[in-house]
């Protein structure tokens, strides 16, 4: 893959570097952390950042750096899960509704009903039905974004299915399933990628919010949302309890948005040639 484009966009490059760093840190968490993220050490509680606690400690004396590192794991897995869930099902649903008009009213009214609920409320209801745990939280948050992706894809499908190149493919005798796979979906790719990066970014916030409300991942598991939830009462005395996980959420969300922009441009052959000047 030609990545010359990144030299022309320094901020996007920073975003990619941050994402890469995050992935490495999340993958190698056990090798990086100086302490176990679960070890309680009441003697060292609420220590300010310094040595040996790089980011300080929380009210139980747990090392915040270690917890942030393990939290990256939780957040990335959660966000990826939501994106996969929402994008795969949303694209299928939207493309089917746009392509097979007979099922359109059923699918789209279903998304309307789901969109009528405030997203967090819907997630709360679903979590209380399904129970806590990573998979259930991903489904609960994913359903909100699933409807949005389905809407975007549905509108795109309506536009693309009328394109003469679709008629041309039909006239050539290309199977309908192949037309959807090779013409309809690739031509929707850039908006879907943009939607997916938004979904990733916002789902991190939603996952954190669920954790913050105590309905997400069990509190024992280190996640950025859980850390914010536990740390909020120490906001004035020990702000590092919130600053580090909070900064991680902000930087991750920002980086994925920047990366999404670059991906969108790269996925369009015309834009790609123009930018790279090939």
């Amino acid at each position: 893959m030609n990545l010359r484009i990144l030299y022309k966009r320094k901020i996007a490059l920073a975003g990619f570097i941050f994402i890469a760093l995050l992935l490495i840190v999340a993958a190698c968490a056990p090798l990086i952390v100086p302490f176990s993220p679960l070890d309680l050490n009441p003697a060292d509680k609420l220590k300010a950042p310094g040595v040996p606690y790089l980011f300080g400690t929380d009210n139980f004396g747990r090392d915040i750096f270690s917890r942030v590192v393990y939290g990256a794991r939780t957040s990335l897995i959660g966000g990826t899960g939501v994106v996969l869930f929402a994008t795969i099902l949303g694209v299928l649903m939207g493309a089917m509704a746009g392509y097979f008009r007979r099922i359109e009213p059923w699918l789209m009214r279903l998304t309307d009903v789901m969109m009528a609920f405030p997203p967090l409320l819907l997630a709360l209801v679903l979590v209380s039905i399904l129970g806590r745990g990573m998979l259930n939280v991903v489904i609960a948050v994913g359903i909100t974004y699933l409807t949005r992706t389905a809407r975007v894809v549905y509108a795109l499908t309506l536009k693309i299915r009328e394109e003469p190149y679709i008629e041309a493919a039909t006239a050539s005798g290309v199977r309908e399933s192949m037309i959807i796979l090779r013409h309809v979906i690739p031509n929707m790719l850039s908006p879907i990628i943009v939607q997916a990066t938004f979904t990733f970014a916002f789902s991190l916030l939603d996952l954190a919010a669920l954790d913050f409300l105590g309905l997400g991942i069990p509190p024992a598991v280190p996640s950025w949302g859980n850390m914010l939830s536990e740390g909020r009462i120490y906001l004035t005395r020990a702000p590092w309890l919130l600053i580090f996980p909070g900064a991680c959420i902000v930087l991750t969300v920002l980086s994925f948005n920047l990366a999404g922009d670059v991906l969108r441009d790269r996925l369009d052959p015309q834009l790609r040639r123009n930018i790279e000047g090939v």
Binding site: P164, A171, S172, R175, M178, Q270
Partner: protein, 323 residues
């Protein structure tokens, strides 16, 4: 032209419903194609001409099953295409292809030229190896005046004429027998039109193609076609051999059409025959002969009876009450 009939269109009808009211019931029908009957022989090119909105493109699309058809028969190689469904229709498409008017929108912007040209091959001959497929793609590209260096490029890197060549290559790769060309040059520059028309003629000779050539440009039709059919408001009003047609046009509408062709010689005197009024709305067409409100020779009978195609000799058929 003593060869066999390749395609026979009988009483083809395409009515579009005009829905209104809460129940969305069809209250009116737009008869875009109304009882159209004609046949094309093997190796022949039939020109289908008429004003925009007369139903000529709809006819082409209906024959190729790109639209649901209201009624009629399309006998192609002994089978009625209108009865084909699903997989058998898809397989049958190998034999009849379409060239589209817009060379920009009819090529998928995300596919390379090799993918676009190779797609029909993939759909109909999936057992072909990648190398064999590439060979066929290159062979076809070279036949239409493109070369192998264009394979990895995207459509936006080509000019309109080159894009239309890509579109032609896509239809030729399956070696079909019938090609419906829907205004294949009207979106191109005049300088490029002649090149593409000549390419179509070359390909006809080389691959023994039969064309249904849809156009509103009579000078182009005169150059490429063997026979010409004129449509007006969904009906064929005149059909005949090219020479006969241009020498002794019989329908008043054909007269008007021919008179509207620009004359390249400014000193040649020309009979002005400008039609009064506009083409009527097909939603509520005039009774009897659709053309009578604009016809200078309209008679009482024209307002009542629909004229049928009558043989005037030399397989020249005209739908007109005039003797």
């Amino acid at each position: 032209m003593n060869s066999q009939t390749l395609v026979e269109v009988r009483n083809l009808k395409k009515y579009f419903p005009v829905r209104s009211g809460i129940l969305q019931r069809a209250k009116h029908w737009i008869k875009a194609v109304d009882n159209v009957t004609f046949s094309i022989k093997e190796g022949e090119t039939l020109g289908l001409v008429g004003e925009s909105g007369c139903g000529k493109s709809t006819t082409g699309r209906a024959i190729l099953r790109l639209l649901p058809v209201t009624g009629g028969e399309v006998i192609f190689q002994g089978k009625d295409l209108l009865t084909l469904k699903g997989e058998s229709l898809r397989k049958a498409r190998k034999e009849f292809q379409m060239i589209f008017q817009d060379p920009y929108a009819s090529l998928d912007p995300r596919m390379t030229v090799a993918q676009i040209v190779g797609e029909p091959l993939k759909a109909h001959e999936p057992e072909l190896s990648a190398a064999d497929r590439d060979a066929r793609i290159i062979e076809t590209m070279e036949a239409v005046g493109l070369n192998a260096s264009h394979l990895r490029r995207f459509p936006f890197e080509f000019s309109g004429g080159q894009r239309q060549r890509i579109g032609i290559a896509r239809t030729l790769i399956l070696k079909p027998s019938l090609i419906v060309a829907d205004e294949p040059v009207s979106a191109l520059d005049v300088s490029v039109q002649a090149q593409v028309i000549n390419l179509l003629i070359q390909m006809r000779e080389r691959f023994r193609l039969t064309y249904l050539f849809i156009s509103h440009d009579l000078s182009v039709v005169k150059h490429i076609c063997d026979r010409v059919a004129v449509m007006y408001l969904g009906r064929i009003v005149e059909i005949g051999e090219k020479r006969e047609f241009f020498k002794t046009p019989l329908h008043p509408y054909t007269h008007a059409l021919l008179a509207s062709v620009p004359e390249p010689d400014p000193f040649r005197k020309k009979e002005r025959n400008i039609l009064p009024g506009d083409i009527p709305t097909p939603l509520n067409p005039p009774p009897g002969c659709h053309f009578h409100p604009r016809c200078s020779k309209a008679m009482e009978v024209c307002r009542k009876d629909i004229p049928v195609l009558r043989d005037h000799g030399n397989s020249h058929y005209v739908a007109c009450h005039l003797p």
